[in-house]
């Protein structure tokens, strides 16, 4: 058996595979920086068009999918796998079912990300948001997902505890639902090796895509992250989860309701009215289980709030869960038909997704990373003060970003629809409104840049930690408890 520092030993004597956790962790940090950098570049392109560089490979239209896919599947995806491989071994008190499958999963996933980074700038895309990857890569994703799922359920099958903890319920919904969404949304007839056409057409195609698109948010950016919250937040706070009962109700409520919400992306479209209304109603109902999760997270901190002042891990996690609450309030509101009439197509939507992505996913990721790195490498964090500085930079960055996008979105939404006294458009020249957005685009760029700087500081901090001297005291990076 492995005896290196990369193997954690649990209470039952199970030797955990922490090598795979480290791999996914490093990939998370590296892709996170890349994905956010591309985000900053495309933000600059909106504020200053010459940044498109006049080259086919660097236009906004080709780079935006690279940004969204990198932050969703490379940054967020890799932290989900990091957290899952770390926590499920400990929660189930067993090593992963197959180290070989773990490795295939890791390298396969990174290869898929690299293929995305090559194909998007070349203009190879299916144009389905967050499912832009062309069909051969979609098949690779399917195969790698099956490898992951076999290893995941295999590990559950050989578990040494009877009951399955709530974090794993959420991971399970992630593994199952992403498989269903990915396959159904990508059904297509290939024309060439690089191009295919979907089996659905028109509004049906739009519905299938937004059923996928919204549930990519639900089951790639929400449920696995709630799983991370349910494992790492109690660990960091050293408090048990507030309510077991609440976790049951909000888990089943969330996974059942989420899947209906897709049509809120198609309000006021040619989609049949009954489907639009279902999407709106279920989106509003989704507020309840979402806030159930937020409350269970925040209330877990009761009795530990004074530690939030000093512990950067808890700072990141508290802000993450708070942003989860905020964006899951904002989302249902934006799904109300009348509100959507104003918000849709505007920067408000971009602000909304970034309060979720930067606030909830990003901050939770960094919280988990700052907690994990010292424990995995058994060394104290090299620059604890820098972690707190990162926290403040990131928080200020998110606030600048979302405030700029709210203002820009409301402004353009109102100016597009404004009718003058004579019954004609008050702003008939579209480009005039585009120009009024420019200050907000610069402000958003600043916010995103601060967030990126914070991520680079984290990468530096982790690098110094990993390369630093072995820990002399055992209390800084205490041996990891079994669960």
């Amino acid at each position: 058996m492995q005896t290196s520092a990369s193997a954690g030993i649990g209470a039952h004597g199970a030797v955990y595979d922490d090598d795979i956790v480290k791999k996914f962790l490093i990939a998370t940090v590296a892709w996170g920086v890349v994905g956010m950098l591309v985000g900053v570049i495309i933000a600059l392109q909106l504020a200053w068009w010459p940044a498109n560089l006049g080259l086919p490979w660097t236009t906004f239209g080709r780079l935006r999918p690279l940004h969204t896919n990198a932050v969703i599947f490379a940054f967020a995806g890799n932290i989900c796998f990091t957290g899952i491989y770390y926590s499920m071994q400990r929660l189930l008190k067993t090593r992963m079912w197959s180290d070989a499958l773990s490795k295939i999963h890791f390298w396969g996933w990174q290869l898929i990300i690299v293929s995305a980074a090559v194909t998007f700038p070349l203009g190879l895309t299916q144009s389905r948001e967050y499912a832009e990857l062309i069909w051969p890569i979609d098949i690779a994703i399917t195969l790698i997902w099956v490898v992951f799922a076999i290893n995941f359920f295999g590990t559950i099958a050989i578990r040494n505890v009877k009951h399955i903890y709530v974090a794993i319920w959420f991971y399970m919904s992630f593994v199952i639902t992403i498989a269903v969404l990915h396959i159904v949304n990508n059904l297509a007839v290939p024309a060439t090796f690089l191009r295919s056409y979907p089996v659905y057409s028109g509004m049906t195609d739009a519905l299938v895509q937004w059923w996928y698109g919204h549930n990519a948010v639900g089951f790639f950016l929400t449920t696995p992250f709630l799983g991370l919250m349910y494992y790492f937040l109690p660990k960091a706070a050293e408090r048990p989860i507030y309510s077991y009962r609440l976790s049951i109700i909000h888990f089943w409520g969330l996974i059942f309701l989420y899947i209906w919400a897709g049509p809120h992306h198609l309000l006021y479209s040619g989609l049949p009215d009954w489907a639009q209304t279902l999407g709106m109603v279920f989106s509003i109902m989704l507020l309840a289980p979402s806030w159930g999760g937020m409350l269970n997270g925040l209330l877990t901190l009761r009795g530990a709030w004074e530690r939030v002042r000093t512990d950067p891990v808890l700072k990141f996690m508290v802000v993450a869960v708070s942003f989860y609450g905020m964006s899951t309030f904002e989302g249902p509101m934006m799904s109300i038909r009348g509100v959507n009439g104003l918000a849709h197509f505007t920067n408000w939507v971009i602000g909304h997704v970034h309060s979720g992505a930067l606030g909830w996913n990003g901050m939770m990721t960094f919280g988990v990373l700052y907690w994990l790195v010292p424990r995995l490498w058994n060394k104290p964090l090299a620059r604890p003060a820098m972690a707190t500085q990162h926290f403040w930079l990131a928080t200020i960055g998110i606030v600048l970003y979302t405030v700029a996008m709210w203002a820009a979105g409301l402004m353009e939404g109102l100016q597009w629809r404004a009718i003058g006294d004579g019954g004609q458009l008050a702003n008939p020249i579209f480009i005039d409104i585009v120009h009024r957005l420019e200050p907000f685009y610069w402000l958003r760029l600043l916010g995103g840049f601060l967030y990126l700087v914070g991520a680079v500081m984290a990468a530096y901090n982790f690098w110094k930690t990993i390369r630093g001297p072995e820990s002399l005291s055992t209390d800084v990076a205490a041996p990891v408890p079994a669960t």
Partner: protein, 242 residues
């Protein structure tokens, strides 16, 4: 620690059921979770293939070979990331863009291009709005036709060529998905491309622009000039104003 949550009172009874039925039985858990996540999608998506789904209309015809090639460019360049093809039934949108978009207008759209963001204006009624030469100049340098535009230049489309074999492969695949292309249409892709491309090149020539029928820009112009045209004509035929 985390999984050893202490619970009490009514929570205990409720929790015991969940512990016994779901948490202790992974297969049970996975099956019920799968059922829970399938219901919404089935209820919403399956009826789309019945009369309760989007309306279809014989007034809309499939894209021509050149328009298919142009549409591929539109998809490839990610135009949908800044431009919607979706006029909503709202007064200001009808004033700005034209009649609101009907479901049946999209019936041959694979993949759909409704878009989700309007960094630039909606394009669903852009067909026949501007001359071909306007589009040519606009793609070469957006600021030459739209002063102050923040759109990137797509000058490389002026020289890039389209491959008839590639377009034919697209049409064969589209036919497999259900687009009603006839055998003749598939067999005459090359002639069709040359004929429609030639018309556009002719109109460009009148405006003093030299191009060739197999240029990517010509295909893209063909597609853009088709947008919303069938729908507009059908609505006029029905006597619907907007």
């Amino acid at each position: 620690m985390a999984d050893e949550t202490k619970h009490h009172g009514s929570e205990k009874k409720y929790g015991q059921f969940h512990r016994r039925v779901f948490e202790a039985n992974a297969v049970n858990f996975a099956v019920w979770a799968t059922i829970a996540i399938l219901i919404g999608g089935i209820v919403e998506i399956v009826p789309m293939f019945t009369p309760a789904g989007p309306e279809i209309s014989p007034d809309v015809t499939p894209y021509t070979a050149l328009e298919v090639a142009g549409r591929d460019i539109y998809v490839s360049e990610g135009c949908y990331l800044c431009h919607s093809q979706w006029v909503r039934p709202m007064r200001a949108e009808i004033l700005r863009y034209g009649p609101w978009s009907r479901a049946w207008e999209y019936q041959y759209d694979r993949p759909f291009q409704l878009g989700s963001r309007r960094i630039g204006p909606d394009l669903h009624r852009v067909g026949n709005k501007y001359p071909d030469a306007w589009h040519y100049e606009h793609m070469r340098d957006p600021r030459s036709t739209s002063p102050g535009s923040i759109m990137p230049s797509y000058a490389w489309l002026l020289t890039k060529r389209i491959d008839p074999a590639d377009v034919e492969a697209s049409m064969v695949a589209l036919r497999k998905t259900g687009t009603p292309y006839s055998d003749e249409e598939i067999a005459s892709v090359e002639q069709s491309l040359a004929a429609q491309g030639g018309e556009i090149v002719g109109r460009l020539q009148v405006a003093g622009i030299e191009s060739e029928p197999d240029r990517a820009i010509v295909a893209l112009i063909a597609y853009l000039q088709r947008l919303g045209v069938d729908g507009r004509a059908a609505l006029q035929k029905r006597g619907v104003e907007y």
